[in-house]
């Protein structure tokens, strides 16, 4: 009797499996845990994600595959090649930073702990499965595993109407996008008779002429679901409201891990499966990229700094703009003779973006410890209150803008730019250059705000910002308020004087917490360390941009 079932390479699937099982363990533990022990769950989550990241180490050869067909040509459903590993590193690392950010949020906003950590972990497991899956069924299921828990996470904030509305909007539009994607997959299956990406590519190569229109329509519709996750432009309208309505760490998670699910799915589907239809999806992705970056950057430019949650809104729109840059190499792949070489630039850019964007969100969370409005004006004169936080934030913003000393941001942008030029997409390169310039304006304005002098209004702020700056109580003077400096935050004498000083000077501000939470400090420190390390040795991720990952 020969066995008909698939054999499983447990080492290859370990990163996904560890994440999912940790989620299950957290959910079950939560049921039997006394409320005072609930904070432990956060640390279990962080440990699980760290373990999942360690599980990537034995796989670095990138030659493992499992869940293969037992008949015919050995097509595998799960492949741990370098593309999968790089994206899994991004997902697991991003989730880890998010978890560090969340520890404080879960406690302070009294979110249900077990559910929060379970949903975060299961979403991360889906996002980690996605880049390794090599058939359309697993891809779609993984996409849904990554996004369905995110809907609940967005709506988790207690008694918040905006949160519920954001979750509903996100849910309905995402489900429609997935349904359209499924229709596309069914057309592709009808045209090629297979769901495995390589076989689909072979099938599309010599598709029956009568099925040509069907296959092309299937290809385009399949892209919709992934473009939605990436928040490419016609599918971006859920982003600002969802980010503002969600707890801040969830917004950070969506902007990084949610996007990684989108671009890795797009990369797999276009470059691997639909390669023969490059002349269909190439122009489509190029137009999407141009629209996405322009819309995102122009909208980010129009954010008014004194509006509530303007910092989160700006990051939301800038993440739409950044999604446009992520799309450029994928569009270039449609025009290039060797499309697989292009994808690396997207992965490298995404890794850079994940580190600095999570760092930026972490600093926003840090500022919100004192001033919970998430306003851009709350960041005014951060340098005088908390020099280290201001410096790291300035570094993150410069990385996002692509200016030195954010060297890694610059190099990643150059790598993306080069793919467009190499494959003859001159117009897209021009659009991208214009957009990078637009983005410089608002990133630099924010950076300048950080270093503005506390009392007098500087020319970099808008009249509206100046108005609030004068009507609001003056910001704490430099001597009294330096609570958030990472590392020295817990010094008892410093915090004592801070509380006294700030309650005296600014009655409108809630009292400054006795100490900035350690997990938050750790998250900022980790992101900053990674950002600096990458700026020192950009070849760590730029290596991905040269050569093929598959």
């Amino acid at each position: 009797m020969t066995s008909l079932v698939q054999s499983v390479d447990w080492v290859a699937v370990a990163p996904v499996l560890v994440t999912a099982l940790t989620g299950l363990a957290v959910l079950v533990t939560d049921l039997f845990l006394a409320p005072r022990h609930k904070p432990l769950l956060g640390w279990v989550t962080i440990a699980g994600l760290a373990l999942a990241a360690l599980c990537l180490i034995p796989l670095t050869d990138g030659d493992r595959a499992t869940f293969c067909l037992t008949t015919g040509d050995r097509q595998c459903s799960y492949v741990a090649d370098h593309f999968a590993l790089a994206v899994q590193l991004l997902v697991v690392g991003g989730a880890l930073l998010t978890a560090l950010l969340s520890v404080t949020t879960v406690r302070r906003e009294a979110l249900p702990a077990g559910e929060y950590w379970f949903l975060l972990l299961s979403s991360a497991a889906g996002a980690a499965l996605l880049p390794a899956s090599r058939d359309l069924a697993t891809l779609i299921v993984a996409l849904e595993v990554a996004s369905l828990p995110a809907f609940a996470l967005v709506g988790l904030r207690r008694g918040d109407r905006g949160s519920a509305e954001a979750a509903l909007k996100f849910f309905l539009s995402s489900v429609v996008a997935t349904a359209v994607s499924l229709l596309g997959v069914s057309f592709v299956y009808a045209a090629t008779g297979s769901l495995h990406l390589d076989t689909v590519a072979g099938g599309l190569d010599d598709v029956d002429p009568r099925l040509n229109a069907l296959a092309a329509l299937g290809v385009v519709l399949t892209l919709v679901g992934f473009a939605f996750k990436l928040a490419a432009v016609p599918f971006h309208f859920w982003v600002p409201d969802s980010y503002v309505g969600a707890p801040l760490p969830v917004a950070a998670y969506l902007s990084v891990v949610g996007k990684s699910a989108g671009f890795s799915g797009l990369a797999l589907v276009t470059v691997v499966a639909f390669r023969p239809y490059a002349d269909t999806w190439g122009p489509a992705l190029a137009v999407l990229a141009a629209l996405t970056m322009t819309t995102g950057n122009v909208a980010a430019l129009r954010q008014r700094p004194d509006q509530p949650a303007s910092a989160v809104r700006l990051l939301a729109w800038s993440s739409v703009g950044q999604a446009g840059y992520l799309l450029v190499p994928l569009a270039a792949a449609g025009y290039h003779d060797d499309p697989e070489e292009m994808v690396g630039a997207t992965v490298a850019y995404a890794l850079m973006y994940a580190v600095v964007n999570l760092g930026a969100f972490a600093v926003v969370a840090l500022v919100a410890e004192n001033r919970p409005g998430h306003r851009l004006t709350d960041h005014r004169a951060l340098f005088s209150r908390n020099p280290l936080a201001a410096l790291t934030m300035g570094f993150f913003l410069l990385c996002l803008a692509g200016l030195p000393p954010g060297v890694i941001g610059l190099f990643a942008k150059v790598a993306v730019f080069r793919t467009a030029v190499d494959s003859g997409l001159g117009w897209l390169a021009v659009v991208m250059a214009v957009n990078v310039t637009i983005a410089l304006y608002y990133y630099l304005k924010w950076t300048a705000l950080l270093f503005a002098t506390p009392t007098t209004a500087t020319p970099t702020t808008t009249p509206a910002a100046r108005a609030t700056a004068t009507t609001a109580p003056a910001a704490p003077t430099p001597g009294t308020a330096t609570p958030g400096a990472p590392g020295q935050a817990t010094a008892p004498t410093a915090t004592g004087s801070t509380v006294a000083g700030s309650t005296a000077t600014a009655a409108r501000e809630p009292s400054v917490p006795a100490s900035v939470p350690h997990p938050l400090t750790a998250a900022i420190a980790l992101a900053a360390a990674l950002g600096v390390a990458l700026s020192g040795a950009p070849q760590l991720i730029l290596r991905l941009a040269s050569g093929t990952l598959f």
């Binding site: 008909l4 079932v5 698939q6 999912a20 989620g23 299950l24 959910l27 869940f67 067909l69 037992t70 008949t71 459903s77 799960y78 249900p112 559910e115 379970f118 949903l119 299961s122 979403s123 497991a125 889906g126 499965l129 899956s133 058939d135 069924a137 697993t138 299921v141 993984a142 849904e144 595993v145 369905l148 828990p149 809907f151 609940a152 709506g155 988790l156 207690r158 008694g159 519920a164 979750a167 057309f187 009808a190 045209a191 009568r210 099925l211 229109a213 069907l214 329509l217």
Partner: protein, 190 residues
């Protein structure tokens, strides 16, 4: 599975094809009534007819397993979920004068355009292909099970995570809403 037309033609339909067409007409009619009726509960019940008609179509195509999935999941539980969802709202039994939104002409245009595109493309692609129904049954639970547990174990197990996350997410959100809404006095909307 797909054969080109040789012995088949539009002029000599067999019994299965005639039943297929009749059930298709009934399903289409029920679907149209579902979206046009002004009585919400009736709309849900017409949806049962449409989904049931679709199940019969699956059966006629020998997709036996999918047909019963359609009956158990869609007719059996999704419609129940839909009805409970309707009963959570303050929608009245009987005619709802406000059931039509201002956007209905846009919706109609979008629906017609989408349907026209899909029908054209699909009909054009499969105009001259026929499913041979006389061979062994293609969509029986045995065939599905064999394929599922030989080749599709990974998405199958991933699905269990998806279902668990859906369950936990729905319970979390509904518990919160339940706790918040219970003390509040119901708003007067009519």
């Amino acid at each position: 599975m797909i054969l080109t037309a040789e012995a088949n033609g539009f002029l000599s339909p067999n019994g299965v094809e005639i039943v297929f067409l009749l059930v298709g007409v009934v399903t289409l009619g029920a679907a149209v009534i579902t979206v046009t009726t002004r009585q919400l509960v009736h709309a849900a019940l017409w949806l049962v007819v449409a989904l049931g008609g679709l199940a019969v179509e699956y059966l006629l195509l020998t997709a036996e397993f999918i047909a019963w999935v359609q009956v158990l999941i869609y007719v059996g539980s999704v419609v129940v979920l839909l009805l409970f969802g309707l009963m959570l709202t303050r929608a009245p039994i009987g005619r709802s004068p406000d059931a039509d939104s201002e956007n209905r002409w846009v919706a109609l245009a979008v629906a017609l355009a989408a349907a026209a595109t899909l029908v054209t493309v699909v009909a054009d692609a499969f105009r001259s292909t026929w499913i041979d129904l006389d061979r062994s049954v293609q969509g029986s639970p045995e065939v599905t099970g064999e394929s599922l547990f030989r080749h599709w174990v990974l998405p199958f197990e991933a699905l269990s995570v998806l279902l668990l996350a859906a369950l936990v997410g729905a319970i979390t959100l509904s518990r919160r809403r339940g706790a918040d809404d219970a003390p509040a006095s119901p708003k007067q909307e009519r």
